[in-house]
Subunit: 350 residues, 2 copies
């Protein structure tokens, strides 16, 4: 598999399937692991990183043969290819923009990715469409077990798995869900809801993880704590809050429709109008309008556009994907023009 | 003729015909006249105003029989009807919102209107589509001569025609052209051009005359001075500046298209997208988008919408016209919803 092949298909997690998929975009479980016989990445020499990459690459492909993972060494990859992987949520910004021996193994449907030489020796994630924490956890746990049979993980009986950053020590597990909450944003309930979520020791983040802003009404909820809790407890803590947020969001949308239908329709159709007509548009602005469009489709206001088309446009509208689709490198202004043209074609305009 | 009949047709000056009609919306000539035997309106009693209205109404209909003018007494008219006349530029805001005996005589094609008991006893205007100052002047001059044959105008051999406000003393003539100058606004040439225009003793005003702001890139250029100049000199002074502004505007548009076509197209098509999709829209916002649309049509970027349709929408989108079209009185929010629906239907959407 080549990185370009990824663009031919939509990742499983973007298919808009699964429980509460109108509001829960995806469920994700991520494990951090390190090997006993190597120092943490930040202290490893180039030679050690190289040996780590070789060892882990071989182990991943043999131990997880069932998962049919393809390994992409990133030291050799172009900046554009790395950015494509990042935009697809298959690697972190740190790995994309990092240096030296590092890479990622990806399953054909993009549900599994295993990063090598990120902050930890191994960062593996499973990501599923909709609310599906249990299966997501079981899938990545299977990968973890398969690898553990061949690798000597750094593990303390007292603390659990040892990681480069103390916040990951213990289970090394981060469970997260990506939610689309435009209704709560419009009705101004979002801050209050997130205060409650934060009090439950959960973190709220934007579309691209830690330190990023929430754009287009997308929010990631994840566990803050990984130490002193079992994996099941962590799953439970994130899983417990999601149904409440889904209910609130549904109520907010219905209240809006009932009490202020023209305002909701105005927002949704103006976004459609901009996406179908703009000649220059930034990825940031596209995100906002796609968010409105997604809400409009889920509310039944727009029927001629399929939700999975919109889900995919979120990814394809981003700078690296856009350049791949156009088949050439483009500056910001050129991308904004190309993006507008791409949106028009995808949304049925000439 | 009833006021409702006006809505069945487009005024001649909105047909988008005549010289330079892509940039010069209309040419207008207005005369102020007062009768010797009555005090100025501000000093006239109710009884005097009533007698003035009766006298002028009879004289207008008999003396100008060829022009086939219909007289609308405004003391009895609804606020909505008065506002319709104002939105069609047939009467001033002062007359629309005034009190007591007053009215207006209008020709079937709306090129001529004669206001009775405005600031002066008589305010008569002719308005033509495109750049057509000479014919506009001759038409209103004909009406003026016909009336003068039956009326005793207040006239001083030294000063000329006497008017309520000293700024109109002399010829009592105001000549104006309404220009659409989006290109010069975008290229930021407009202020400099207007500085030059002002130095030539001409005034620059917005869409609804004195004291109003320019909206949607429409500007009215008119003579400041009416005393000590002949009518021909005044016509000449306004007429001389228009070709230059038309040339500058054409150059600005071509420069924009050549150097920044995507930016121009983006502006034009986003406006089209908003007008075709919004569910709530103010008259102010409509004006801005119709202005872009009008430029887009004149630049050949949009071919499926006719310029006269857009010209008419400028009038029909306004509050009183909208309520007439909807057949009921509406509050602001109701109008904004109805206006959005009207725009969608007029621009080929459901």
């Amino acid at each position: 598999m080549q990185i370009n092949d990824l663009l031919e298909n939509t990742g499983e997690w973007l298919k808009g399937q699964g429980e509460d998929a109108d509001i829960v975009i995806s469920s994700r479980a991520r494990l951090a692991r390190n090997l006993v016989q190597f120092p943490f990445i930040s202290r490893a020499t180039q030679a050690q990183r190289r040996r780590l990459e070789e060892l882990l690459r071989d182990t991943i492909t043999t131990a997880c043969a069932d998962a049919n993972l393809s390994y992409f060494p990133l030291a050799e990859a172009s900046a554009l290819d790395s950015r494509v992987l990042m935009e697809r949520h298959l690697i972190s910004r740190e790995l994309a923009e990092g240096k030296g021996p590092r890479g990622v193994a990806i399953s054909p449907d993009e549900t599994i990715s295993v990063m090598v030489n990120e902050e930890d020796h191994l960062r593996m994630q499973a990501i599923h469409s909709g609310l599906d924490l249990k299966n997501t956890w079981e899938e990545i746990s299977g990968i973890d077990n398969a690898l553990e049979a061949h690798l000597n993980y750094a593990f303390s009986p007292k603390l659990g798995y040892l990681t480069a950053c103390p916040t990951n020590v213990g289970t090394g597990l981060r469970v997260s869900v990506m939610l689309h909450l435009p209704g709560m944003v419009i009705t101004k309930q979002i801050e209050k809801a997130f205060e409650a979520v934060t009090k439950m020791n959960l973190a709220v983040r934007g579309l691209y993880g830690e330190g990023t802003q929430a754009h287009g009404d997308f929010y990631q909820i994840s566990n803050q704590i990984t130490l002193g809790r079992s994996e099941e407890e962590l799953l439970e803590s994130v899983g417990a809050v999601v149904p409440a947020l889904v209910t609130y969001e549904r109520m907010a949308r219905q209240t809006l429709l009932k009490e202020n239908r023209p305002t909701v329709e105005d927002r949704v159709f103006r976004s459609l109008g901009v996406l179908q007509n703009a000649r220059i548009i930034s990825s940031q602005e596209v995100l906002l309008h796609l968010s409105s469009l997604r809400m409009g489709i889920n509310l039944g206001l727009i029927s001629e556009i399929k939700p999975e088309v919109v889900n995919e446009l979120f990814i394809l509208a981003q700078p690296a994907h856009l350049q791949k689709l156009e088949g050439r490198e483009l500056g910001e202004h050129g991308r904004d023009i190309a993006r507008a043209g791409f949106m028009r074609r995808q949304l049925g305009m000439n």
